[in-house]
Amino acid sequence: MKTNDSNMESGLADRIMDRLCLTPAAVAGIILLFVIPFIPPFNQQYMIRWLVAAALIGANAIAFDFTIGFINIVNFGYYAFLGFGGYTSAILAVNLGLSPWIGMIIGALFSGVLGLLTGLLTLRLRGIFAACMTWFLGLAMMGLITKMVWLTRGPLGLRCPQLFETSSNLPYYYLILSLLIVIYISTKWVTRSNMGLAFKAIGQNMEAARTSGINPVFYRIVNFTLSCTIAGLLGGFYAHYYGVLTPELLHTTKTVEVLAVAYIGGRGSLWGGAFIAFPFIITMELIRSSLSELPGLNLIIYGLMLMLVMIYYPGGFAEFFNTYLAKPKNRFLRYFLSGIKDS
């Protein structure tokens, strides 16, 4: 009787986890991330700052991977959309005194609309055109923001109000972590639905997808708009966390960072980038702060890692995990890592 009961319970837990697209290991990881700011080496304020940066990159990597891993379009101006959302939110807060919370949402909507317009223009063309166009868009917007000093204060940087009235980084960490989880679950839901199936079909074989009656332009635009909306939301967080925005934010090097994390994490997995962002960004920050006499070394590592992963192991960490780690002999471990129970 008792065993039956526990089976029922675990069945419910499984169903909830399945609904949330999480495995037991992922739940454990999330709990670890929630308590990590209290574990000694990480309870310093600068460490929490790094954790926030890592979570932000991780969330960006999910949104980025949502486009590149599924419909095979590189949004090379990703940070232009992020910066657009951030600037919108910051300008609303500074000039109209709007609450940053509402501003973030409006920024997200603005970025989404911009993404929709860009998508309408470019996504009917070959993927490389979309990459170039978003890249040029980023350049043009960077130029515009630098020049529109009366609105954005140009290169001087736009100061914007913070989200929380505290100097601690902890509330920001929990906010971005929650955002990360919400973004992960919602994108995962979309990719699990029929629409996600269409995305994958388009990304893998355009001809076959069109033959099965999928309108590639429509699905590409939906996907792109969604990704840009998330970028805008995270841009709002960026603005109101760091408190200052400069046109440099829209530069492509930032996008390359997200691109590298998304690829190393595993293209098309969504969770890979979010997972790998934490160890990766913290290692990078350590390298940057300890080897400050060698500027640019961390970026060289970024570039090399990106190239090596792309050539020799295109699946990234997610594929490594799925082939070697996810299915150990031990039944309990296997359930823990992959969420699959033996029948």
Binding site: C132, V217, G296, L306, M310, I311
Partner: protein, 342 residues
């Protein structure tokens, strides 16, 4: 005979490309009258160099299907090499001015840059692109594009790490009194460098048109499988193309050293502009890259003159957007199939 020739010219004038070229020339003349002929001179000098960079970019895309994002870094490699070759030579010249070196030192520097650029291109092809080609041909364009992104980041930061961020530039190559052309004073360096660029373009054109290797390159760009069947060594051609494209970019970097001192991110601006050119004329269209170079240089010169510095990315980007919306295959049409992959 002459009538049919004028007929084809008129037909061409009515096409998008013809309209653009005619309009550009007209606008250039009007701007030249309005605010001085230096606009035209500037356009022609920067356009020549831009054409070199864009030519390499178009060649690599047309033959190898690689949208090269790291092309500006070969510009940077070229300018860096030229700096390190030319500076010691210039110091030697200060002690013994009237030697034969005075006229040839810049040429030696540019030649050295060309060789280093070509070798760098070879290494990239051997170490990176051929490795990817061996392993996967799926989504080749997108994957190779991302690879070049990584390459660009590595090269920029390697420059910063090894040579520092300071500007490594020279004041002049040949020097001498500026020459007066149409009322504008143009330094001799600019004229000679422009002549050099045109000579390089001419040699390149002759090479592509009349040598068997050039024919093989064109064959590969049209149909790789077909080229393989008639016994062309594809890998060799790809290596050569990469070396050629990168060498062209390095020559441009070395030639413009007196205008653009070498620093880590020096290649970004030529890269953007070269991409504008390539999209404007149609991806992979080598023949019109030259024309496109002048058009983009004109747009940039006009923007700086009439709207102000700092807008020179905004306006060209908007124009390119318009081109992409109405003529995605570029103004002069493109031989690369499937612009609309839908």
């Amino acid at each position: 005979m002459t009538e049919s020739k004028t007929g084809t010219v008129i037909v061409w004038m009515k096409s998008a490309g013809g309209i653009t070229v005619t309009l550009s020339i007209l606008i250039a003349i009007i701007a030249g009258i309005d605010s001085g002929p230096y606009i035209i001179v500037n356009t022609i000098v920067t356009g020549g160099m831009l054409a070199l960079v864009a030519l390499g970019l178009a060649l690599i895309f047309g033959v190898m299907n690689i949208p090269m994002f790291a092309h500006g870094e070969f510009f940077m490699i070229g300018s860096l090499t030229a700096y390190y070759i030319f500076t010691p030579l210039a110091e030697y010249l200060n002690t013994s001015p009237n030697s034969l070196l005075a006229a040839t030192a810049p040429l030696i520097a540019i030649l050295g840059a060309m060789i280093v650029g070509a070798v760098a291109g070879l290494l990239c092809e051997l170490l990176i692109f051929s490795q990817l080609r061996k392993r996967s041909r799926e989504n080749w364009v997108m994957n190779s594009f991302l690879l070049t992104v990584g390459l660009s980041v590595v090269l920029i930061n390697a420059h910063q790490l090894l040579f520092g961020t300071e500007f490594k530039g020279i004041v002049r190559y040949w020097g001498g009194r500026p020459t007066e052309i149409m009322g504008a004073f143009v330094s001799r360096d600019r004229i000679l460098v422009f002549v050099l660029a045109m000579v390089v373009v001419g040699v390149f054109w002759l090479f592509m048109k009349y040598t068997s290797t050039g024919r093989a390159i064109r064959a590969v760009s049209q149909d790789q499988t077909g080229a393989l069947m008639v016994g062309i060594n594809i890998n060799g051609i790809l290596l050569l193309t990469m070396a050629l494209g990168c060498a062209l970019s390095a020559i441009a970097g070395a030639g413009l050293l007196f205008l653009y001192p070498s620093y880590p991110a020096v290649g970004l601006e030529p890269l953007y502009l070269a991409w504008f050119v390539v999209i404007l004329v149609g991806l992979g269209n080598t023949a019109f890259a030259l024309v496109g170079g002048f058009i983009v240089a004109l747009i940039k010169a006009l923007t700086v003159e009439y709207i102000g510095a700092g807008w020179d990315f905004v306006i060209p980007s908007l124009l390119i957007t318009v081109v992409l919306v109405f003529k995605p295959s570029g103004l002069f049409g493109s031989e690369v199939r499937g612009v609309l992959d839908l």
